[in-house]
Symmetry: C2
Subunit: 134 residues, 2 copies
Amino acid sequence: MNYSKQREEIYEILKENVVHPSAEYIYDILKKANSNISLATVYRNLNKMASSGRIKKIEGLEEKAHFDHNTFEHYHFICQKCGRIFDIDKEVAPEVVIRAQEKTGFIINSYDIVFHGICRECIEKEKENDKICM
Amino acid sequence: MNYSKQREEIYEILKENVVHPSAEYIYDILKKANSNISLATVYRNLNKMASSGRIKKIEGLEEKAHFDHNTFEHYHFICQKCGRIFDIDKEVAPEVVIRAQEKTGFIINSYDIVFHGICRECIEKEKENDKICM
DNA sequence: AAGAAAAGTGATAATAATTATCAGTTTACA
DNA sequence: TGTAAACTGATAATTATTATCACTTTTCTT
């Protein structure tokens, strides 16, 4: 794989963004920063980096795919209110692979856990709203 | 929700199918059984049943969504060779929700685990091939 | 440093899954 | 039995993603 300025720009945005942006989100940021990049290039490079293992593709309940520069084993949480995606530490589900392999006899190469719920910030906001309504 | 013949037919196919069919697969079966059903009707009813909780929508690494009549808490395994989707018992990951809630302070309403690997049948097939090549 | 092959790019057409629309049909229930 | 609400088939529209293609960059060889 050759060096490409565009690819590095995409990677930088991914690294700065805690909430796991989609291809289009990255494209919009670059466009606003007066780049001449094409959406196809964003997709191309995200997929290339994902298949080389430099980044990770998250495909959960959402329509779009989202990407994560953190390739450490960890899980994801999608807030049903604000839509942001958060990391969840590996240790919430220890030995899952071992147990699943023992139980099924299948070879397990990878697995993803996606949680759905309400993040702390949105829980707080709901509390505020309740106060006002009282 | 009113009764509809088409919806019940769709549900029946879902119940008979162990490997969690997609909307199009169900559509094809009905078409072959000389039904006059429309693909839109299949999608409509699958989504309706999924949001009423009668069935479950599985959205993993695949492009298409797949559906499951089993709404008991359980996980899924996608075979990277044959593409079939299998059920994985809940007990491979006990207390995941409790741990995740404690660790994050988020409210968790649901979660999905999708495993990727090779199913037993495909493991056997690979062994056969190895024998032949020796 | 020059020049050729390989890899990458932007623009846009194509694809594929899913959803929206709409006129006609079925269901439920007063 | 009639009417409002829900549902249907056909098909157009939408949305995310991928393929194509002429052109540009990068890399590697000499």
